[in-house]
């Protein structure tokens, strides 16, 4: 086993399966056999640490108040105020929940579980104004992130957040609402083209009565359920929701759909169909055991082949979490994390629509790319890149201009007070081995292979800190 080779493989594994790895940890792990490292990764991620930010009791009280007010026709001013107050509180807690999720990813000791949670967060895309519902769904996705896909699917389908978002609350006997039934097959399991409109209709009938009650618990309302006979994928019976899910899981297309999506998230935007098939078959034969599929993927040779290393564009969440985790960043005004997510195009808990974030190259446009390349210097170094290079007269002019701009801008906006974050440089530098060169640090921080240009750019660098700021401001840093 080539030590350098293993070092790079473990680094790749932790970048894809988690949110990066410290140099010290990487050195330690890469002394082990790669299969053992994968076992460690899975073992570390057994720990389930649900988010417990939202106060259950208070949320249930609010739900009951809201239900009461909703039923009334004319509200007194007092009642209107009460209603607005609840909305305000919910919005505030929703923002806190978003930050809690980001912090959980930054600080987690179970990186694969959090990464998988992020994957399911996009797969089962959902918006809810109610942070209690949103937290519950997020925790379902976390607890079952590496467990049985069936359990995950059933629990997601029964969560008030999803029942509300996909209108199953309105899906009643005699008056079916097909929204949930359609997305269940199109987006959650089989994928487009693997079912008929009739299957959707019959499935919708089977899910009638799946609802949540006033205090936000799942309830199967027998009296609203269509007990008639349904024909679903050629099977005839008096089906209920779970029967439908079972039939959907019997179809290998479901394992293929999930495996392809997992592959695109963890391996490559352009799936290699042979590899996807390998993964799907394994997933199907393991009765939809997610951890088993992940292990299969991380222990496959192709996971580490050059076309799959340093070639994926980081999602905004991966970018922000990775940077913050790497440099032990504290956000003194965590709200800025929400602003950054929003500007970069991935506001967690707020997917653009039920299909989730499209990902890949769609993350990048002129503004999001330029912003990404500025964030590291803003977060790590008060907006500065110490760059030693040749100055030509034109550069000097630009610098002079921006000095003027700086003076003028002093009055209104200072990035520091805006981003207001601190990197823990002593801690970061402490994880690096003694005598590490700027070039070696560059190789550690970037996933793509070094090229001549970057090597030249950092060749006369002296400091590790300034090198880190430069490297994280490069287009290459957008890849993992």
């Amino acid at each position: 086993m080539n030590a350098k080779d293993n070092f790079l493989k473990v680094k790749h594994l932790y970048n894809r399966a988690g949110f990066g790895i410290s140099y010290a940890e990487l050195e330690k792990l890469s002394r082990k056999n790669l299969n053992k490292v994968v076992d460690t990764l899975l073992k570390d991620s057994q720990k389930d640490d649900p988010i417990k930010l939202v106060n259950d009791f208070e949320s249930k009280r609010q739900l009951l108040v809201q239900a009461g007010l909703y039923a009334k026709k004319d509200l007194t001013d007092e009642e209107k105020k009460m209603r607005q107050q609840i909305v305000r509180e919910q919005n505030e807690v929703s923002r806190d929940l978003n930050i809690a999720f980001v912090n959980q990813m930054i600080n987690t000791a179970a990186p694969l579980r959090e990464k998988m949670t992020l994957f399911w967060h996009g797969h089962f895309a959902c918006r809810s104004n109610n942070p209690f519902f949103a937290q519950q769904l997020n925790n379902i996705q976390r607890t079952n992130a590496l467990g049985s896909f069936k359990t995950l699917l059933v629990e997601v389908s029964k969560s008030p957040a999803m029942l509300q978002y996909l209108n199953n609350q309105q899906n009643r006997k005699g008056k079916p609402n097909e929204n949930f039934a359609r997305e269940l097959m199109e987006l959650f399991t089989l994928g487009r083209g693997n079912y008929t409109e009739q299957d959707i209709k019959e499935s919708a009938r089977s899910f009638t009565g799946w609802m949540y009650d006033k205090d936000g618990s799942f309830i199967f309302r027998q009296n609203l359920h269509d007990t008639g006979t349904k024909t679903f994928f050629g099977k005839i019976g008096n089906f209920e929701g779970e029967n439908i899910i079972d039939i959907i899981l019997e179809k290998p297309e479901t394992s293929q759909f999930i495996a392809r999506k997992v592959y695109k998230f963890f391996v490559n935007d352009n799936p290699n169909e042979d590899h996807v098939k390998e993964l799907a078959t394994h997933f199907y034969n393991s009765k939809y055991d997610i951890a088993s599929m992940m292990k299969k993927m991380f222990t496959s040779d192709w996971f580490y082949s050059p076309e799959n290393v340093g070639t994926k564009i980081k999602s905004p969440a991966e970018f922000l979490v990775g940077l913050s985790r790497e440099f032990y960043v504290t956000y003194n005004k965590p709200q800025v994390l929400i602003q950054l997510q929003s500007s970069l195009g991935q506001y967690l808990f707020n997917p653009p629509n039920v299909a989730g974030w499209p990902g890949g190259q769609s993350w990048i446009d002129s503004s999001s790319l330029m912003l990404r390349m500025r964030i590291p210097s803003l977060v790590l170094n008060d907006g500065e890149i110490d760059f030693s290079g040749k100055a030509d007269p034109e550069d000097e002019a630009v610098i002079a201009l921006s000095r003027v701009a700086t003076t003028n801008a002093n009055a209104n906006s200072k990035p520091k007070s805006y981003v207001n974050a601190n990197a823990d440089w002593p801690k970061f530098l402490g994880t690096l081995p003694k005598g590490l060169t700027p070039l070696a640090l560059t190789e550690f921080l970037l996933q793509p292979k070094l090229n001549d240009k970057i090597t030249t750019m950092v060749s006369d660098n002296k400091g590790l800190r300034s090198t880190a700021v430069e490297i994280t401001s490069m287009p290459e840093y957008q890849l993992c």
Binding site: R374, I385, G389, K414
Partner: protein, 399 residues
Amino acid sequence: MNRRNFLRNTGFVAAGSLFVPAFMKPLEAMALDELSLYKNLVVVQLSGGNDGLNTVIPFGNDIYYQKRKSIAIKPEEVIKLNDMQGLNPNMAALQEIHDQGWMTIINDVGYPNPDRSHFRSMDIWQTGSDSNQFLSTGWIGRYLDSNCQTCKFPYTAIEVDDSLSLAMKGQTKKGIALKDPGALYRNTNDPFFKAMLQNDKEHLDEDNLGYLYKTMIETSSSANYIQNTSKIYQSKSTYPNSGFANQLKTVSKFISSGLKTRVYYVSLSGFDTHVNQIGQQGNLLKQYGEGMAAFLKDLKTNNKLDDTLVITFSEFGRRVEQNASNGTDHGTANNMFVFGGKLKKQGIFNAAPNLSDLDTGDLKYQLDFRQVYGTILDKWLDVNNADILNKKFNTLDFI
């Protein structure tokens, strides 16, 4: 030599420019007569769901007054355009525009199975999808993708904002978002980024890294081009003091200085008026009307009005009946404003909304919004609308 530079105190302007003169070349190759025929589209988005019925008021219809007891605009306050409809008094600035024949109102624009969620409906309008279809590209983005004669440059579509809307994102090409060309130029003509781009030929291939560099290079050349072309232009017109008017002023500067951009995108938000609508919407409509009037007159002065078409949309209109909080809730079909110097039909394009034939309290749409897009794509941007909208839409006769 070690220098400290860059980024400090430059604010949060996204997007930028780097120095790549070679990319300026194609422009010089363009024939002069081609330049003089340059037609611009300006898309104005009113976010939050503007209440169309209190914007263009059907004062000739009693049902309007019955359904909106406390928020209806009194007939004597309406700026009458015909004997059925007129403008909200806060849009007085648009009367002159209307009288000049530079404005037309299209009533009841919508789509089948309307969605009342802001996000979803905005998605539908921006992507031009059906209501049960999820597209990840915008209609202007797909126009860029079509690589047509009129949309070759990376700066073909500019959004005057910090971030880029879905409408402007195609599969392979995307518009560019910028708020202030000068700040951008300074901001990103940074020695570090310049060094990154120098001699970077090896990355110009199809993979993701190539895509990142390509985006960076295009941003750079666009920002340089935009700054260099527009910096000398000084508008003589005065604009009202509002963020929205400022966006329009920037657009006017770009158009008047001869930028080869085809599509501009600006937005004004705050139209979600569930509570105490009169004041809030009135204030926004005032900004809209005054900003738009100043913009159109400025274009006229610069002889650009005939080459410019402006459309305004919102993700949905609001319910016909007001709610108990002196506001309105999410609805469906809505009116669209169209402005320009060369309108075929001026004033009011089609029949006023039928307030007695509603779909569970909401207006039924007369025209699909993609017919409006289709008309613009076919007749103004010179592409076949079926290529962009995935099916052919019948065009309308407003241009």
